[in-house]
């Protein structure tokens, strides 16, 4: 019988001790923590370096990057090379997995420390980088899958999931 209540009192001792401890809350909008070096924020593109290789567009699991490409002699070498006239990153779809950053051969797409994206319309979250805007609602061509045994006779079904 003397043990009854001991555990409860011990637990209440824990809570009363915490009552007088220092608070650990950080008041967010006033106080901003230093982000670590590797922190993955919103993406940005250095269009001067982009060679329009479309690697990032292909690897992106969410198809959030759309690039409009055309052949143009941009550096004056007299040879027409691929050039990204339109480049859109749709932040409403991006999941910050950093695959595009790793795959880029010229390191022109990279993460910033910016992470507070907000808009009243999802279309506003699509950020344009090129000289010509790209429609973010049109899907970039998904990666073509080579199916060895692919035989699609069944009618097309609409995805719901």
């Amino acid at each position: 019988m003397p043990q009854v209540g001991q555990g409860i009192l011990k637990g209440m001792g824990v809570t009363i001790r915490h009552l007088f401890q220092n608070k650990i809350t950080r008041q967010y909008p006033e106080y901003k923590r230093d982000l670590p070096e590797r922190s993955r924020g919103m993406l940005t593109v250095d269009m001067d370096r982009c060679i329009a290789c479309l690697q990032c567009m292909r690897i992106c699991p969410d198809h959030c990057i759309s690039i409009e490409q055309e052949k143009r002699d941009a550096d004056g070498s007299g040879k027409a090379k691929p050039y990204a006239v339109g480049f859109v990153i749709d932040d409403s779809r991006c999941m910050y997995c950093s695959l595009c950053v790793e795959v880029c051969p010229v390191n022109c797409i990279y993460h910033t420390e910016e992470f507070e994206a907000q808009a009243y319309n999802r279309l506003e979250l699509a950020r344009q980088f090129g000289e010509r805007p790209v429609d973010p609602t049109i899907d970039p061509k998904p990666t073509v899958k080579k199916k060895p045994k692919a035989a699609k006779q069944a009618p097309k079904k609409e995805a719901t999931a």
């Binding site: 209540g5 637990g11 809570t15 070096e37 690897i59 699991p61 993460h111 080579k146 199916k147 999931a161």
Partner: protein
């Protein structure tokens, strides 16, 4: 695709017992009293994620419990069929969002099983280090959730304070707080930052005493906690094995099974740790197991930090992954049990079929079996025993 007539035929023929039960008239006892039907969830505030339980109550006693799932179903397996092998890893993060590292590890092990790639030892150590930190970050809040379900609000906030600190470490290492995308095919994304081992060490040193002060003292001897959990959700070893349980729900009945020891992967054979078992098989036992496993994780993290070799963290891979045809299996001990991945490859750069075996999904079958006969408030501690995660069972 089944034809319409065939589907109807199947459903009527194969689900006869279920249909008969559903069509049965309301049963009244000798006083002419009916049972109450109640739908708990999916927007129930205390439910773990999006789960709906169709309950039949006789007063406060549960007569029937029928879980309905699919409210968070994203068809991850179908999406994975259309992604290249490396691009599936960030999606596995979204499966069991309290054990992201384990999901990545399991998937990566399955791909490496197909590829026969050599993983550098330093990368293996970092993987285990991160997995064990993740286990801490999952077990501590799950203790808090159990207390939240019993009506005590305070432990969950102490638990999330600890999780927050672990997440800060993860952020410095991987760049993200929850969706890490850190463990890669053939190694890990990047080496640890130079100051991180010391930070982890400092954190772990402080954690042991905080663990005793904040959780064990607050919860362990509490009479109300004991009376609410002892004997609740009681199951036998046979039942647990039959229902295919793994992880703490299996170990709390006394079955000595841990994938880290019995199906060794990564560098676990080189490390020392104990597999914790308990014989009671109730909610309190699972709580004790989680507490003890946290201490084992601390032990493993210390060993990893001490033994960590130098060297590269990424194996040699081709630019485009095209594994050979066949089956690849990967299984890891996630905080909830056995997380297994089965990949069927057809030789192209996307998987032909990916199947996830999630511990939350399999352990949840227990609900149908164990809940009937308990009181309504006991459902929540039993959920705390299983500790399912919505992203896990719904894939």
């Amino acid at each position: 695709m089944l034809s319409e007539e065939r589907r109807v035929e199947q459903q009527s023929a194969l689900t006869e017992p279920a249909a008969a039960r559903l069509a049965a008239p309301d049963v009244r006892d000798e006083f002419g009293l009916e049972t109450i039907d109640m739908s708990m969830g999916p927007q129930h505030p205390a439910m773990h994620g999006l789960l709906r339980l169709i309950l039949e109550l006789d007063g406060e006693t549960v007569v029937r419990c029928d879980p309905v799932m699919g409210y968070l179903h994203r068809c991850q397996e179908k999406i994975a069929e259309n992604r290249m092998y490396p691009a599936v890893i960030p999606l596995t993060d979204r499966l069991d969002y309290f054990a992201n590292m384990h999901n990545e590890h399991g998937y990566v092990l399955a791909v490496e099983d197909l590829l026969d790639v050599e993983v550098p030892p330093r990368a293996e150590y970092i993987r285990v280090l991160m997995s064990e930190l993740m286990r801490l970050a999952s077990h501590i809040p799950s203790i808090g959730f159990l207390m939240l379900e019993l009506g005590a609000f305070t432990p969950i906030l102490y638990a999330f304070r600890e999780r927050e600190r672990i997440q800060t470490i993860f952020e410095a290492v991987t760049g993200a707080r929850m969706m890490f995308h850190y463990i890669r095919i053939g190694g890990v994304k990047a080496d640890l930052p130079p100051d991180i081992p010391q930070k982890i060490w400092d954190y772990i040193e402080g954690l042991e005493s905080r663990f005793q002060n904040d959780f064990v003292d607050l919860i362990q001897g509490n009479e109300i906690f004991i009376s609410r959990t002892r004997g609740v959700g009681k199951m036998t070893q046979e039942k647990a094995v039959e229902m295919g349980l793994t992880g703490p729900p299996l170990r709390c009945t006394g079955v000595d099974f841990d994938l880290r020891r019995d199906y060794p992967y990564s560098i676990y054979p080189e490390l020392e740790f104990d597999v914790i078992t308990d014989t009671a098989g109730d909610v309190e036992a699972s709580y004790r197991i989680r507490i003890a496993e946290c201490l084992q994780s601390i032990r493993l993290i210390k060993q990893c930090l001490e033994k960590m070799p130098e060297g590269a963290v990424m194996g040699d891979l081709g630019r485009r992954l095209r594994p050979k045809e066949g089956d690849g299996f990967g299984r890891v001990e996630s905080p909830r049990g056995e997380f297994a991945v089965h990949i069927v490859s057809d030789g192209s750069d996307t998987p032909y079929r990916v199947h996830y075996r999630d511990p939350s999904f399999c352990n949840m079958q227990l609900l149908q079996e164990v809940v009937p006969g308990h009181y309504l408030p006991d459902i929540m501690p039993i959920m705390g025993l299983i500790d399912p995660v919505s992203g896990g069972w719904d894939k």
